[in-house]
Symmetry: C2
Subunit: 315 residues, 2 copies
Protein backbone atom coordinates (compact mmCIF):
# COMPACT_ATOMS: atom_id res chain seq x y z
CA UNK A 1 0.00 0.00 0.00
CA UNK A 2 1.67 3.18 -1.08
CA UNK A 3 -0.53 5.79 0.52
CA UNK A 4 2.18 7.91 2.09
CA UNK A 5 -0.10 10.77 3.03
CA UNK A 6 -3.43 9.94 4.61
CA UNK A 7 -6.22 12.37 3.82
CA UNK A 8 -9.73 12.04 5.19
CA UNK A 9 -13.12 12.59 3.65
CA UNK A 10 -13.66 15.93 5.35
CA UNK A 11 -10.43 17.35 3.93
CA UNK A 12 -11.12 16.06 0.42
CA UNK A 13 -14.76 17.20 0.47
CA UNK A 14 -13.62 20.70 1.41
CA UNK A 15 -10.87 20.68 -1.24
CA UNK A 16 -13.32 19.62 -3.95
CA UNK A 17 -15.30 22.82 -3.40
CA UNK A 18 -12.67 24.63 -5.45
CA UNK A 19 -13.60 22.45 -8.47
CA UNK A 20 -16.74 22.04 -10.59
CA UNK A 21 -16.95 18.28 -10.06
CA UNK A 22 -19.83 17.95 -7.61
CA UNK A 23 -19.58 16.68 -4.05
CA UNK A 24 -17.68 13.73 -2.57
CA UNK A 25 -19.38 10.34 -2.63
CA UNK A 26 -16.45 8.01 -1.95
CA UNK A 27 -12.74 8.22 -1.18
CA UNK A 28 -10.51 5.15 -1.47
CA UNK A 29 -6.74 4.73 -1.27
CA UNK A 30 -4.93 3.10 -4.21
CA UNK A 31 -2.24 0.52 -3.54
CA UNK A 32 -0.19 1.12 -6.70
CA UNK A 33 2.29 3.95 -7.14
CA UNK A 34 5.85 4.52 -6.05
CA UNK A 35 6.31 8.25 -6.34
CA UNK A 36 2.91 9.53 -5.26
CA UNK A 37 -0.05 8.92 -3.00
CA UNK A 38 -3.19 8.17 -5.00
CA UNK A 39 -6.86 7.99 -4.10
CA UNK A 40 -9.91 7.10 -6.14
CA UNK A 41 -12.38 9.95 -5.72
CA UNK A 42 -16.01 9.46 -6.69
CA UNK A 43 -18.20 12.55 -6.75
CA UNK A 44 -21.80 13.21 -7.71
CA UNK A 45 -20.46 14.12 -11.17
CA UNK A 46 -17.93 11.42 -11.97
CA UNK A 47 -14.86 9.35 -11.14
CA UNK A 48 -11.46 10.88 -10.55
CA UNK A 49 -8.01 10.13 -9.20
CA UNK A 50 -6.50 12.40 -6.57
CA UNK A 51 -2.72 12.43 -6.56
CA UNK A 52 -0.57 13.89 -3.79
CA UNK A 53 2.98 14.36 -5.01
CA UNK A 54 5.46 12.99 -2.48
CA UNK A 55 8.85 13.08 -4.19
CA UNK A 56 8.74 14.64 -7.63
CA UNK A 57 10.37 18.07 -7.88
CA UNK A 58 7.59 20.61 -7.56
CA UNK A 59 8.94 22.61 -10.50
CA UNK A 60 8.52 19.56 -12.77
CA UNK A 61 4.85 18.97 -11.95
CA UNK A 62 3.45 21.49 -14.46
CA UNK A 63 5.30 19.63 -17.24
CA UNK A 64 3.47 16.39 -16.40
CA UNK A 65 0.05 17.91 -15.80
CA UNK A 66 0.14 20.15 -18.85
CA UNK A 67 1.36 17.22 -20.96
CA UNK A 68 -1.61 15.10 -19.89
CA UNK A 69 -3.97 18.02 -20.52
CA UNK A 70 -2.38 18.53 -23.95
CA UNK A 71 -2.67 14.88 -24.92
CA UNK A 72 -6.25 14.63 -23.61
CA UNK A 73 -7.11 17.69 -25.70
CA UNK A 74 -5.81 15.76 -28.71
CA UNK A 75 -8.07 12.80 -28.01
CA UNK A 76 -5.46 10.57 -26.36
CA UNK A 77 -7.15 8.38 -23.71
CA UNK A 78 -5.08 9.60 -20.78
CA UNK A 79 -5.96 11.14 -17.42
CA UNK A 80 -7.22 14.66 -17.96
CA UNK A 81 -6.23 17.00 -15.13
CA UNK A 82 -9.19 19.00 -13.82
CA UNK A 83 -8.66 22.74 -13.46
CA UNK A 84 -9.89 24.42 -10.30
CA UNK A 85 -11.78 27.71 -10.11
CA UNK A 86 -8.50 29.62 -10.36
CA UNK A 87 -7.97 27.68 -13.63
CA UNK A 88 -4.99 25.85 -12.09
CA UNK A 89 -4.24 22.15 -12.61
CA UNK A 90 -1.87 21.97 -9.65
CA UNK A 91 -3.20 22.67 -6.17
CA UNK A 92 -2.28 21.81 -2.62
CA UNK A 93 -3.86 19.41 -0.15
CA UNK A 94 -2.64 18.39 3.29
CA UNK A 95 0.50 20.47 2.68
CA UNK A 96 1.41 18.51 -0.47
CA UNK A 97 1.17 19.48 -4.14
CA UNK A 98 -1.97 17.78 -5.40
CA UNK A 99 -3.92 17.22 -8.61
CA UNK A 100 -7.28 15.81 -9.56
CA UNK A 101 -7.42 13.87 -12.85
CA UNK A 102 -10.15 11.89 -14.60
CA UNK A 103 -10.29 8.18 -13.83
CA UNK A 104 -10.12 6.01 -16.92
CA UNK A 105 -12.04 2.79 -17.51
CA UNK A 106 -10.43 -0.62 -17.75
CA UNK A 107 -7.97 -2.94 -16.08
CA UNK A 108 -4.35 -3.91 -16.53
CA UNK A 109 -3.73 -6.84 -18.88
CA UNK A 110 -0.95 -8.96 -17.45
CA UNK A 111 -0.59 -11.27 -20.44
CA UNK A 112 -1.17 -9.23 -23.57
CA UNK A 113 -1.69 -10.80 -27.00
CA UNK A 114 -0.86 -9.33 -30.40
CA UNK A 115 -4.14 -7.37 -30.47
CA UNK A 116 -3.30 -5.63 -27.21
CA UNK A 117 0.21 -4.89 -28.50
CA UNK A 118 -1.18 -3.39 -31.70
CA UNK A 119 -3.48 -1.11 -29.68
CA UNK A 120 -0.51 0.00 -27.56
CA UNK A 121 1.64 0.64 -30.64
CA UNK A 122 -1.12 2.70 -32.18
CA UNK A 123 -1.77 4.88 -29.14
CA UNK A 124 1.96 5.36 -28.61
CA UNK A 125 2.33 6.74 -32.14
CA UNK A 126 -0.72 8.94 -31.57
CA UNK A 127 0.84 10.27 -28.38
CA UNK A 128 4.10 11.01 -30.18
CA UNK A 129 2.36 12.91 -32.98
CA UNK A 130 0.08 14.81 -30.61
CA UNK A 131 3.04 15.59 -28.36
CA UNK A 132 4.90 17.39 -31.14
CA UNK A 133 2.84 20.55 -30.55
CA UNK A 134 3.40 20.47 -26.78
CA UNK A 135 5.48 23.38 -25.59
CA UNK A 136 6.65 22.01 -22.22
CA UNK A 137 10.33 21.22 -21.73
CA UNK A 138 11.74 18.66 -19.33
CA UNK A 139 14.65 16.49 -20.34
CA UNK A 140 14.03 12.82 -19.56
CA UNK A 141 15.51 12.65 -16.06
CA UNK A 142 16.52 9.02 -16.64
CA UNK A 143 18.53 9.74 -19.80
CA UNK A 144 22.23 9.09 -20.64
CA UNK A 145 23.43 11.73 -18.18
CA UNK A 146 21.64 9.93 -15.36
CA UNK A 147 23.06 6.58 -16.55
CA UNK A 148 26.60 7.91 -16.30
CA UNK A 149 25.99 9.35 -12.84
CA UNK A 150 24.24 6.26 -11.52
CA UNK A 151 26.48 3.49 -12.84
CA UNK A 152 29.41 4.23 -10.48
CA UNK A 153 27.04 4.24 -7.50
CA UNK A 154 25.66 0.76 -8.14
CA UNK A 155 28.91 -0.72 -9.51
CA UNK A 156 30.24 -1.75 -6.05
CA UNK A 157 27.23 -4.02 -5.51
CA UNK A 158 27.74 -5.99 -8.73
CA UNK A 159 29.81 -9.09 -9.44
CA UNK A 160 32.56 -8.95 -12.07
CA UNK A 161 30.52 -10.12 -15.12
CA UNK A 162 27.76 -7.59 -14.38
CA UNK A 163 30.29 -4.82 -13.82
CA UNK A 164 31.86 -5.65 -17.16
CA UNK A 165 28.49 -5.71 -18.92
CA UNK A 166 27.45 -2.37 -17.44
CA UNK A 167 30.78 -0.73 -18.35
CA UNK A 168 30.69 -2.15 -21.85
CA UNK A 169 27.08 -1.12 -22.46
CA UNK A 170 27.70 2.46 -21.32
CA UNK A 171 30.71 2.60 -23.67
CA UNK A 172 28.65 1.10 -26.52
CA UNK A 173 25.78 3.56 -26.01
CA UNK A 174 28.17 6.50 -25.89
CA UNK A 175 29.27 5.74 -29.46
CA UNK A 176 25.84 6.69 -30.83
CA UNK A 177 24.52 10.21 -31.33
CA UNK A 178 20.93 9.26 -30.60
CA UNK A 179 20.07 12.91 -30.11
CA UNK A 180 19.67 13.25 -33.90
CA UNK A 181 16.61 11.02 -33.90
CA UNK A 182 13.09 12.53 -33.89
CA UNK A 183 12.38 13.82 -30.39
CA UNK A 184 9.44 15.00 -28.34
CA UNK A 185 7.58 14.30 -25.12
CA UNK A 186 7.72 10.59 -24.31
CA UNK A 187 5.90 8.55 -21.67
CA UNK A 188 9.13 6.66 -20.95
CA UNK A 189 7.43 4.08 -18.74
CA UNK A 190 4.72 2.52 -20.91
CA UNK A 191 4.75 -0.85 -19.19
CA UNK A 192 1.78 -3.22 -18.96
CA UNK A 193 0.74 -1.76 -15.62
CA UNK A 194 0.35 1.70 -17.16
CA UNK A 195 -2.23 0.81 -19.79
CA UNK A 196 -5.87 -0.02 -19.05
CA UNK A 197 -8.00 -2.18 -21.32
CA UNK A 198 -11.77 -1.90 -21.16
CA UNK A 199 -12.99 -5.11 -22.76
CA UNK A 200 -11.22 -5.18 -26.10
CA UNK A 201 -10.62 -1.42 -26.16
CA UNK A 202 -7.67 0.50 -24.87
CA UNK A 203 -9.30 2.47 -22.06
CA UNK A 204 -6.37 4.60 -21.07
CA UNK A 205 -2.67 5.28 -20.73
CA UNK A 206 -1.80 6.29 -17.18
CA UNK A 207 1.10 7.42 -14.97
CA UNK A 208 2.97 10.11 -16.86
CA UNK A 209 5.30 10.88 -13.99
CA UNK A 210 8.39 9.50 -15.72
CA UNK A 211 7.66 11.47 -18.88
CA UNK A 212 10.19 13.83 -20.40
CA UNK A 213 11.53 14.99 -23.71
CA UNK A 214 13.62 12.30 -25.37
CA UNK A 215 13.90 10.42 -28.65
CA UNK A 216 10.56 8.91 -29.68
CA UNK A 217 12.31 5.65 -30.55
CA UNK A 218 13.43 5.29 -26.93
CA UNK A 219 9.77 5.26 -25.92
CA UNK A 220 9.06 2.54 -28.50
CA UNK A 221 12.00 0.48 -27.21
CA UNK A 222 10.90 0.75 -23.57
CA UNK A 223 7.39 -0.28 -24.59
CA UNK A 224 8.49 -3.26 -26.73
CA UNK A 225 10.87 -4.40 -23.98
CA UNK A 226 7.87 -4.92 -21.73
CA UNK A 227 4.81 -5.67 -23.89
CA UNK A 228 6.49 -8.09 -26.29
CA UNK A 229 8.55 -10.20 -23.89
CA UNK A 230 8.23 -13.93 -23.47
CA UNK A 231 8.73 -15.39 -20.01
CA UNK A 232 12.47 -15.88 -20.68
CA UNK A 233 12.94 -12.21 -21.62
CA UNK A 234 13.23 -12.85 -25.34
CA UNK A 235 11.04 -10.90 -27.78
CA UNK A 236 7.93 -12.59 -29.10
CA UNK A 237 8.01 -12.02 -32.88
CA UNK A 238 4.24 -11.93 -33.31
CA UNK A 239 3.59 -9.36 -30.59
CA UNK A 240 6.66 -7.30 -31.51
CA UNK A 241 5.60 -7.12 -35.13
CA UNK A 242 2.02 -6.25 -34.18
CA UNK A 243 3.14 -3.38 -31.96
CA UNK A 244 5.67 -2.01 -34.44
CA UNK A 245 3.37 -2.36 -37.43
CA UNK A 246 0.57 -0.48 -35.64
CA UNK A 247 2.98 2.24 -34.54
CA UNK A 248 4.45 2.54 -38.02
CA UNK A 249 0.97 2.85 -39.60
CA UNK A 250 0.48 6.13 -37.73
CA UNK A 251 4.04 7.42 -37.49
CA UNK A 252 6.37 5.74 -40.00
CA UNK A 253 9.94 5.36 -38.81
CA UNK A 254 12.68 7.18 -40.69
CA UNK A 255 15.97 5.72 -41.86
CA UNK A 256 17.89 6.95 -38.82
CA UNK A 257 15.43 5.27 -36.53
CA UNK A 258 15.70 2.04 -38.44
CA UNK A 259 19.46 2.08 -37.98
CA UNK A 260 19.25 2.96 -34.30
CA UNK A 261 16.65 0.35 -33.35
CA UNK A 262 18.98 -2.39 -32.01
CA UNK A 263 20.93 0.22 -30.04
CA UNK A 264 17.74 1.69 -28.63
CA UNK A 265 16.33 -1.62 -27.45
CA UNK A 266 19.58 -2.03 -25.49
CA UNK A 267 19.30 1.55 -24.19
CA UNK A 268 15.77 0.85 -22.98
CA UNK A 269 16.95 -2.25 -21.13
CA UNK A 270 19.99 -0.46 -19.70
CA UNK A 271 17.89 2.39 -18.33
CA UNK A 272 15.63 0.05 -16.36
CA UNK A 273 18.44 -2.25 -15.26
CA UNK A 274 20.18 0.80 -13.81
CA UNK A 275 17.14 2.25 -12.06
CA UNK A 276 16.23 -1.11 -10.59
CA UNK A 277 19.76 -1.65 -9.36
CA UNK A 278 19.66 1.78 -7.84
CA UNK A 279 16.27 1.25 -6.14
CA UNK A 280 17.38 -2.18 -4.93
CA UNK A 281 20.80 -1.35 -3.52
CA UNK A 282 20.23 2.30 -2.62
CA UNK A 283 16.61 2.54 -1.47
CA UNK A 284 15.44 5.95 -0.43
CA UNK A 285 14.62 6.48 3.23
CA UNK A 286 10.98 5.71 3.90
CA UNK A 287 10.66 3.57 0.77
CA UNK A 288 7.53 1.56 1.37
CA UNK A 289 7.33 -0.54 -1.77
CA UNK A 290 9.39 -3.56 -2.59
CA UNK A 291 11.94 -2.79 -5.28
CA UNK A 292 11.65 -4.77 -8.51
CA UNK A 293 14.24 -7.47 -9.06
CA UNK A 294 17.08 -5.89 -11.06
CA UNK A 295 17.95 -9.25 -12.59
CA UNK A 296 15.01 -9.08 -14.98
CA UNK A 297 16.46 -6.18 -16.95
CA UNK A 298 19.97 -7.61 -16.70
CA UNK A 299 18.61 -10.61 -18.59
CA UNK A 300 16.67 -8.41 -21.03
CA UNK A 301 19.78 -6.37 -21.80
CA UNK A 302 21.88 -9.48 -22.43
CA UNK A 303 19.20 -10.89 -24.71
CA UNK A 304 18.87 -7.64 -26.70
CA UNK A 305 22.64 -7.70 -27.22
CA UNK A 306 22.58 -11.36 -28.26
CA UNK A 307 19.61 -10.83 -30.59
CA UNK A 308 21.01 -7.70 -32.28
CA UNK A 309 21.08 -9.23 -35.75
CA UNK A 310 17.55 -10.65 -35.64
CA UNK A 311 15.39 -8.02 -33.96
CA UNK A 312 11.79 -7.49 -35.03
CA UNK A 313 11.23 -4.43 -37.18
CA UNK A 314 8.91 -3.17 -39.89
CA UNK A 315 9.79 -1.69 -43.26
CA UNK B 1 -32.52 16.71 -41.67
CA UNK B 2 -30.21 19.63 -41.31
CA UNK B 3 -27.15 18.36 -43.09
CA UNK B 4 -26.46 21.37 -45.28
CA UNK B 5 -23.05 20.20 -46.41
CA UNK B 6 -22.67 16.58 -47.45
CA UNK B 7 -19.26 15.10 -46.77
CA UNK B 8 -18.33 11.55 -47.68
CA UNK B 9 -16.31 8.91 -45.89
CA UNK B 10 -13.23 9.40 -48.06
CA UNK B 11 -13.06 13.11 -47.23
CA UNK B 12 -13.60 12.55 -43.52
CA UNK B 13 -11.13 9.65 -43.36
CA UNK B 14 -8.48 11.87 -44.96
CA UNK B 15 -9.30 14.80 -42.67
CA UNK B 16 -9.02 12.60 -39.56
CA UNK B 17 -5.37 11.91 -40.41
CA UNK B 18 -4.56 15.33 -38.97
CA UNK B 19 -5.85 14.14 -35.57
CA UNK B 20 -4.76 11.48 -33.08
CA UNK B 21 -8.16 9.78 -32.96
CA UNK B 22 -7.58 6.63 -35.01
CA UNK B 23 -9.22 5.79 -38.31
CA UNK B 24 -12.81 6.18 -39.49
CA UNK B 25 -15.24 3.36 -38.71
CA UNK B 26 -18.60 5.05 -39.32
CA UNK B 27 -19.97 8.40 -40.49
CA UNK B 28 -23.61 9.31 -39.94
CA UNK B 29 -25.50 12.57 -40.49
CA UNK B 30 -27.38 14.07 -37.53
CA UNK B 31 -30.87 15.43 -38.05
CA UNK B 32 -30.82 18.04 -35.29
CA UNK B 33 -29.17 21.45 -35.54
CA UNK B 34 -30.15 24.74 -37.12
CA UNK B 35 -26.90 26.61 -37.48
CA UNK B 36 -24.50 23.81 -38.39
CA UNK B 37 -24.10 20.52 -40.19
CA UNK B 38 -23.37 17.70 -37.78
CA UNK B 39 -22.16 14.14 -38.22
CA UNK B 40 -21.56 11.35 -35.75
CA UNK B 41 -18.02 10.09 -36.37
CA UNK B 42 -16.95 6.76 -34.94
CA UNK B 43 -13.25 5.93 -35.15
CA UNK B 44 -11.12 3.05 -33.95
CA UNK B 45 -10.46 5.18 -30.84
CA UNK B 46 -13.84 6.60 -29.90
CA UNK B 47 -17.03 8.47 -30.67
CA UNK B 48 -17.03 12.06 -31.87
CA UNK B 49 -19.22 14.70 -33.46
CA UNK B 50 -18.03 16.52 -36.56
CA UNK B 51 -19.49 19.99 -36.99
CA UNK B 52 -19.29 22.04 -40.17
CA UNK B 53 -20.13 25.65 -39.44
CA UNK B 54 -22.61 27.00 -41.97
CA UNK B 55 -23.68 30.39 -40.69
CA UNK B 56 -21.88 31.43 -37.54
CA UNK B 57 -19.36 34.25 -38.02
CA UNK B 58 -15.96 32.62 -38.42
CA UNK B 59 -14.36 35.08 -36.01
CA UNK B 60 -16.74 33.92 -33.26
CA UNK B 61 -15.93 30.21 -33.57
CA UNK B 62 -12.81 30.27 -31.36
CA UNK B 63 -14.94 31.73 -28.54
CA UNK B 64 -17.28 28.70 -28.66
CA UNK B 65 -14.58 26.06 -29.10
CA UNK B 66 -12.26 27.48 -26.47
CA UNK B 67 -15.19 27.83 -24.07
CA UNK B 68 -16.07 24.15 -24.48
CA UNK B 69 -12.40 23.20 -24.04
CA UNK B 70 -12.20 25.40 -20.95
CA UNK B 71 -15.32 23.91 -19.38
CA UNK B 72 -14.27 20.34 -20.22
CA UNK B 73 -10.91 21.05 -18.57
CA UNK B 74 -12.87 22.00 -15.46
CA UNK B 75 -14.75 18.72 -15.43
CA UNK B 76 -18.00 19.98 -16.97
CA UNK B 77 -19.61 17.19 -19.02
CA UNK B 78 -19.63 19.06 -22.32
CA UNK B 79 -18.24 18.28 -25.77
CA UNK B 80 -14.46 18.55 -25.67
CA UNK B 81 -13.02 19.87 -28.94
CA UNK B 82 -10.16 17.73 -30.23
CA UNK B 83 -6.99 19.57 -31.25
CA UNK B 84 -5.32 18.58 -34.50
CA UNK B 85 -1.60 18.05 -35.01
CA UNK B 86 -1.11 21.80 -35.41
CA UNK B 87 -2.75 22.08 -31.96
CA UNK B 88 -5.76 23.86 -33.49
CA UNK B 89 -9.36 23.22 -32.45
CA UNK B 90 -10.78 24.84 -35.58
CA UNK B 91 -10.00 23.35 -38.97
CA UNK B 92 -11.53 23.28 -42.41
CA UNK B 93 -13.36 20.53 -44.28
CA UNK B 94 -15.12 20.72 -47.63
CA UNK B 95 -14.42 24.46 -47.70
CA UNK B 96 -16.22 25.04 -44.39
CA UNK B 97 -14.85 25.78 -40.93
CA UNK B 98 -15.02 22.49 -39.07
CA UNK B 99 -14.41 21.02 -35.63
CA UNK B 100 -14.29 17.56 -34.08
CA UNK B 101 -15.65 17.25 -30.54
CA UNK B 102 -16.19 14.30 -28.21
CA UNK B 103 -19.60 12.66 -28.35
CA UNK B 104 -21.33 12.46 -24.98
CA UNK B 105 -23.44 9.62 -23.66
CA UNK B 106 -27.16 9.84 -23.06
CA UNK B 107 -30.42 10.93 -24.59
CA UNK B 108 -32.69 13.95 -24.38
CA UNK B 109 -35.35 13.78 -21.67
CA UNK B 110 -38.55 15.29 -23.03
CA UNK B 111 -40.48 15.24 -19.76
CA UNK B 112 -38.05 15.98 -16.95
CA UNK B 113 -38.91 15.49 -13.29
CA UNK B 114 -37.56 17.35 -10.27
CA UNK B 115 -34.46 15.12 -10.16
CA UNK B 116 -33.53 16.00 -13.73
CA UNK B 117 -34.12 19.68 -12.98
CA UNK B 118 -31.87 19.51 -9.92
CA UNK B 119 -29.09 17.95 -12.03
CA UNK B 120 -29.47 20.72 -14.60
CA UNK B 121 -29.42 23.43 -11.93
CA UNK B 122 -26.29 21.93 -10.44
CA UNK B 123 -24.36 21.66 -13.72
CA UNK B 124 -25.45 25.17 -14.73
CA UNK B 125 -23.98 26.60 -11.52
CA UNK B 126 -20.81 24.53 -12.11
CA UNK B 127 -20.54 25.95 -15.61
CA UNK B 128 -20.97 29.48 -14.32
CA UNK B 129 -18.27 29.08 -11.69
CA UNK B 130 -15.87 27.32 -14.08
CA UNK B 131 -16.56 29.95 -16.74
CA UNK B 132 -15.37 32.77 -14.48
CA UNK B 133 -11.73 31.99 -15.35
CA UNK B 134 -12.42 31.86 -19.11
CA UNK B 135 -10.70 34.66 -20.97
CA UNK B 136 -12.78 34.66 -24.18
CA UNK B 137 -14.99 37.64 -24.92
CA UNK B 138 -18.15 37.56 -27.02
CA UNK B 139 -21.17 39.58 -25.98
CA UNK B 140 -24.37 37.50 -26.11
CA UNK B 141 -25.48 38.21 -29.68
CA UNK B 142 -29.15 37.84 -28.64
CA UNK B 143 -28.94 40.45 -25.87
CA UNK B 144 -30.90 43.71 -25.34
CA UNK B 145 -29.22 45.42 -28.31
CA UNK B 146 -30.47 42.66 -30.59
CA UNK B 147 -33.95 42.87 -29.05
CA UNK B 148 -34.15 46.57 -29.89
CA UNK B 149 -32.97 45.97 -33.47
CA UNK B 150 -35.22 42.98 -34.06
CA UNK B 151 -38.51 44.19 -32.58
CA UNK B 152 -39.24 46.76 -35.33
CA UNK B 153 -38.60 44.11 -37.99
CA UNK B 154 -41.17 41.63 -36.65
CA UNK B 155 -43.66 44.26 -35.44
CA UNK B 156 -45.49 44.52 -38.82
CA UNK B 157 -46.41 40.84 -38.64
CA UNK B 158 -48.09 41.08 -35.23
CA UNK B 159 -51.66 41.93 -34.24
CA UNK B 160 -52.35 44.93 -32.03
CA UNK B 161 -52.29 43.14 -28.62
CA UNK B 162 -48.98 41.43 -29.43
CA UNK B 163 -47.49 44.70 -30.71
CA UNK B 164 -48.52 46.38 -27.48
CA UNK B 165 -47.05 43.57 -25.36
CA UNK B 166 -43.75 43.62 -27.24
CA UNK B 167 -43.46 47.41 -26.97
CA UNK B 168 -44.36 47.41 -23.30
CA UNK B 169 -41.95 44.59 -22.47
CA UNK B 170 -39.04 46.33 -24.22
CA UNK B 171 -39.85 49.50 -22.29
CA UNK B 172 -40.10 47.53 -19.03
CA UNK B 173 -36.79 45.75 -19.59
CA UNK B 174 -35.04 49.03 -20.47
CA UNK B 175 -35.81 50.32 -16.95
CA UNK B 176 -33.45 47.77 -15.38
CA UNK B 177 -29.68 47.99 -15.27
CA UNK B 178 -29.18 44.23 -15.46
CA UNK B 179 -25.54 44.74 -16.42
CA UNK B 180 -24.69 45.14 -12.72
CA UNK B 181 -25.52 41.50 -12.04
CA UNK B 182 -22.75 38.86 -11.91
CA UNK B 183 -21.65 38.14 -15.47
CA UNK B 184 -19.65 35.56 -17.35
CA UNK B 185 -19.88 33.06 -20.19
CA UNK B 186 -23.41 31.66 -20.39
CA UNK B 187 -24.84 28.82 -22.46
CA UNK B 188 -27.91 30.94 -23.22
CA UNK B 189 -29.83 28.05 -24.79
CA UNK B 190 -29.94 25.34 -22.12
CA UNK B 191 -33.21 23.83 -23.25
CA UNK B 192 -34.22 20.19 -22.78
CA UNK B 193 -32.83 19.25 -26.17
CA UNK B 194 -29.37 20.45 -25.18
CA UNK B 195 -28.86 18.19 -22.17
CA UNK B 196 -28.27 14.44 -22.37
CA UNK B 197 -29.17 12.05 -19.56
CA UNK B 198 -27.43 8.70 -19.34
CA UNK B 199 -29.70 6.65 -17.13
CA UNK B 200 -30.13 8.77 -14.03
CA UNK B 201 -26.93 10.76 -14.64
CA UNK B 202 -26.48 13.95 -16.54
CA UNK B 203 -24.33 12.74 -19.46
CA UNK B 204 -23.64 16.06 -21.09
CA UNK B 205 -24.52 19.63 -21.93
CA UNK B 206 -24.34 20.23 -25.68
CA UNK B 207 -24.67 22.94 -28.34
CA UNK B 208 -22.76 25.96 -27.11
CA UNK B 209 -23.27 27.91 -30.33
CA UNK B 210 -25.58 30.49 -28.75
CA UNK B 211 -23.15 31.07 -25.87
CA UNK B 212 -21.85 34.51 -25.03
CA UNK B 213 -20.97 36.71 -22.11
CA UNK B 214 -24.07 37.88 -20.27
CA UNK B 215 -25.56 37.94 -16.79
CA UNK B 216 -25.50 34.51 -15.18
CA UNK B 217 -29.08 35.02 -13.99
CA UNK B 218 -30.23 35.32 -17.60
CA UNK B 219 -28.92 31.79 -18.20
CA UNK B 220 -30.84 30.55 -15.15
CA UNK B 221 -34.02 32.24 -16.40
CA UNK B 222 -33.72 30.75 -19.89
CA UNK B 223 -33.17 27.32 -18.34
CA UNK B 224 -36.08 27.55 -15.87
CA UNK B 225 -38.36 28.83 -18.65
CA UNK B 226 -37.89 25.55 -20.45
CA UNK B 227 -37.14 22.84 -17.87
CA UNK B 228 -39.74 23.84 -15.30
CA UNK B 229 -42.76 24.54 -17.53
CA UNK B 230 -46.05 22.75 -17.30
CA UNK B 231 -47.98 22.10 -20.50
CA UNK B 232 -49.81 25.43 -20.19
CA UNK B 233 -46.55 27.38 -19.93
CA UNK B 234 -46.86 28.03 -16.19
CA UNK B 235 -43.95 27.16 -13.89
CA UNK B 236 -44.10 23.91 -11.99
CA UNK B 237 -43.23 24.83 -8.37
CA UNK B 238 -41.61 21.48 -7.56
CA UNK B 239 -39.30 21.42 -10.57
CA UNK B 240 -38.55 25.15 -10.33
CA UNK B 241 -37.58 24.85 -6.70
CA UNK B 242 -35.47 21.75 -7.37
CA UNK B 243 -33.53 23.51 -10.14
CA UNK B 244 -33.02 26.73 -8.21
CA UNK B 245 -32.11 24.99 -4.97
CA UNK B 246 -29.48 22.85 -6.73
CA UNK B 247 -28.07 25.89 -8.52
CA UNK B 248 -28.01 27.91 -5.31
CA UNK B 249 -26.20 25.13 -3.43
CA UNK B 250 -23.20 25.60 -5.74
CA UNK B 251 -23.46 29.30 -6.56
CA UNK B 252 -25.65 31.19 -4.10
CA UNK B 253 -27.53 34.12 -5.59
CA UNK B 254 -26.77 37.59 -4.33
CA UNK B 255 -29.28 40.25 -3.30
CA UNK B 256 -29.23 41.97 -6.70
CA UNK B 257 -30.04 38.70 -8.42
CA UNK B 258 -32.89 38.06 -6.05
CA UNK B 259 -34.40 41.43 -6.92
CA UNK B 260 -33.88 40.96 -10.65
CA UNK B 261 -35.33 37.45 -10.87
CA UNK B 262 -38.90 38.33 -12.02
CA UNK B 263 -37.50 40.77 -14.58
CA UNK B 264 -35.04 38.18 -15.83
CA UNK B 265 -37.63 35.45 -16.30
CA UNK B 266 -39.50 37.92 -18.52
CA UNK B 267 -36.27 38.81 -20.34
CA UNK B 268 -35.61 35.12 -21.04
CA UNK B 269 -39.11 34.72 -22.46
CA UNK B 270 -38.83 37.94 -24.49
CA UNK B 271 -35.53 36.88 -26.06
CA UNK B 272 -36.99 33.61 -27.36
CA UNK B 273 -40.30 35.11 -28.37
CA UNK B 274 -38.37 37.61 -30.49
CA UNK B 275 -36.03 35.10 -32.11
CA UNK B 276 -38.89 32.74 -32.90
CA UNK B 277 -40.91 35.57 -34.40
CA UNK B 278 -37.88 36.51 -36.44
CA UNK B 279 -37.20 32.95 -37.64
CA UNK B 280 -40.90 32.45 -38.39
CA UNK B 281 -41.63 35.65 -40.31
CA UNK B 282 -38.18 36.36 -41.72
CA UNK B 283 -36.65 32.96 -42.47
CA UNK B 284 -33.17 33.05 -43.90
CA UNK B 285 -32.70 31.90 -47.48
CA UNK B 286 -31.99 28.19 -47.57
CA UNK B 287 -33.51 27.62 -44.13
CA UNK B 288 -34.18 23.90 -44.05
CA UNK B 289 -35.69 23.42 -40.64
CA UNK B 290 -39.19 24.28 -39.60
CA UNK B 291 -39.23 27.32 -37.35
CA UNK B 292 -40.63 26.84 -33.86
CA UNK B 293 -44.06 28.26 -33.16
CA UNK B 294 -43.53 31.79 -31.76
CA UNK B 295 -46.79 31.59 -29.83
CA UNK B 296 -45.23 29.35 -27.16
CA UNK B 297 -42.95 32.10 -25.86
CA UNK B 298 -45.65 34.73 -26.28
CA UNK B 299 -47.65 32.65 -23.79
CA UNK B 300 -44.62 32.13 -21.53
CA UNK B 301 -43.90 35.87 -21.45
CA UNK B 302 -47.52 36.70 -20.57
CA UNK B 303 -47.50 34.10 -17.81
CA UNK B 304 -44.21 35.36 -16.33
CA UNK B 305 -45.69 38.86 -16.24
CA UNK B 306 -48.91 37.62 -14.63
CA UNK B 307 -46.98 35.48 -12.12
CA UNK B 308 -44.50 38.22 -11.13
CA UNK B 309 -45.55 38.29 -7.48
CA UNK B 310 -45.46 34.51 -6.95
CA UNK B 311 -42.38 33.25 -8.78
CA UNK B 312 -40.36 30.36 -7.41
CA UNK B 313 -37.12 31.35 -5.74
CA UNK B 314 -34.76 30.15 -3.03
CA UNK B 315 -33.42 32.05 -0.07
Amino acid sequence: MSVYTAVNETEVAAWLKSFSVGTLVELKGIAAGIENTNYFVTTTHGRYVLTLFERLPREDLPFYLNLMAHLARHGIPCPSPIADHRNQLLGELHGKPAALVTRLPGVVVAEPDATHCAAVGSVLADMHLAGQSYGGRLENPRGPKWWRETAPRVMPFLDAPRQALLREELRFQSLYRLQDLPRGPVHADLFRDNVLFDGGNLGGVIDFYFAGVDTLLFDVAVTVNDWCLRADGSLDPERSTALLRAYHATRPFNALERGAWPVMLRAGALRFWLSRLYDFYLPRPGELVHAHDPEHFHRVLRLRIAESDRLPWVA
